[in-house]
């Protein structure tokens, strides 16, 4: 495409150059015509040059845009990876907390079982206190000690 344009531009310039008459020897009309034709050729060359420059700029701009897009995607990918890592780290922290809580519950229940298995602390009876009482809840009679009575 670019080659065709170059050929066309060169052909056009050649045609204009060939069309340009020989140096005017005589009248002013021919001189004026020659001047106009020369100006046209120059204008065309300038326009073509500018077009090529702009095309080059556009190509660079597209390349830059592509690079920026690629960089932007990499940044986005990095951001996504970072976000995913942070989420995973937060999830691990949550899991650690959950495991610690479950461990504490297991230890607590194990201690209770150990105590009750040896008969150390056994609930004797629970009585609901009267509403007028100052006590905030039910009263348990808990027997602590060792051995069975």
């Amino acid at each position: 495409m670019t080659l065709k344009r170059a050929i066309a531009g060169t052909t056009m310039a050649a045609m204009l150059a060939l069309a340009a008459p020989a140096p005017a020897a005589a009248n002013g009309a021919a001189s004026t015509r020659n001047i106009l034709l020369g100006a046209g050729v120059a204008t065309y060359l300038i326009i073509q040059h500018n077009r090529k420059v702009h095309e080059k700029y556009a190509e660079d701009a597209r390349r830059q845009a592509a690079l920026e897009s690629q960089n932007s995607n990499m940044q986005a990918a990095y951001s996504s990876e970072r976000s995913a890592y942070q989420n995973a780290a937060a999830e691990i922290v949550d899991l650690k907390r959950e495991v610690a809580y479950q461990h504490s519950m297991i230890v607590q229940q194990r201690n209770q079982l150990a105590m009750q298995g040896g008969g150390f602390g056994t609930q004797a009876r629970t009585t609901r206190v009267a509403a007028a009482s100052m006590s905030p809840g039910p009263v348990s009679m808990v027997s602590y000690g060792w051995g069975q009575v």
């Binding site: 201690n111 040896g118 150390f120 006590s135 060792w146 009575v149």
Partner: protein, 115 residues
């Protein structure tokens, strides 16, 4: 009966002396002293954590003042006392084996659970 029971020479008096020493040991958080008069089977059940837990609960009742005889079950060789503290009291039950060693020692405490 209470007078006889509190006498150190009678079985009840001996039991009260043992119950008092165990109660003092628990109150002082001394597991070794707690097991001193326990029989072999009962000694295996005692842990430091249990003694510490019970000691803390007894301290909530205030200063330990001593035991008062309440009753006994001759068939079970079981004795009941009232442990007096400065801010309350708690029943103490002691059972002795045929050899006179402590086969069971229990303290009953009131515990209020918040709802």
């Amino acid at each position: 009966m209470a007078v006889l029971a509190s006498c150190g020479g009678s079985p009840a008096g001996q039991a009260q002396s043992q119950a008092d020493s165990v109660t003092k040991a628990v109150y002082n958080n001394d597991p070794v002293a707690v097991q001193q008069n326990f029989d072999a089977a009962l000694k295996k059940q005692v842990t430091r954590a249990q003694v510490g837990l019970l000691s803390d609960k007894l301290h909530k009742l205030g200063d330990y003042k001593g035991l008062t005889y309440v009753s006994n079950d001759a068939l079970k060789n079981e004795y009941t006392y009232r442990a007096d503290f400065s801010n309350g009291s708690a029943p103490v039950i002691l059972r002795l084996d045929p050899n006179g060693q402590i086969a069971a020692y229990r303290v009953t405490l009131r515990e209020t659970t918040s709802q």
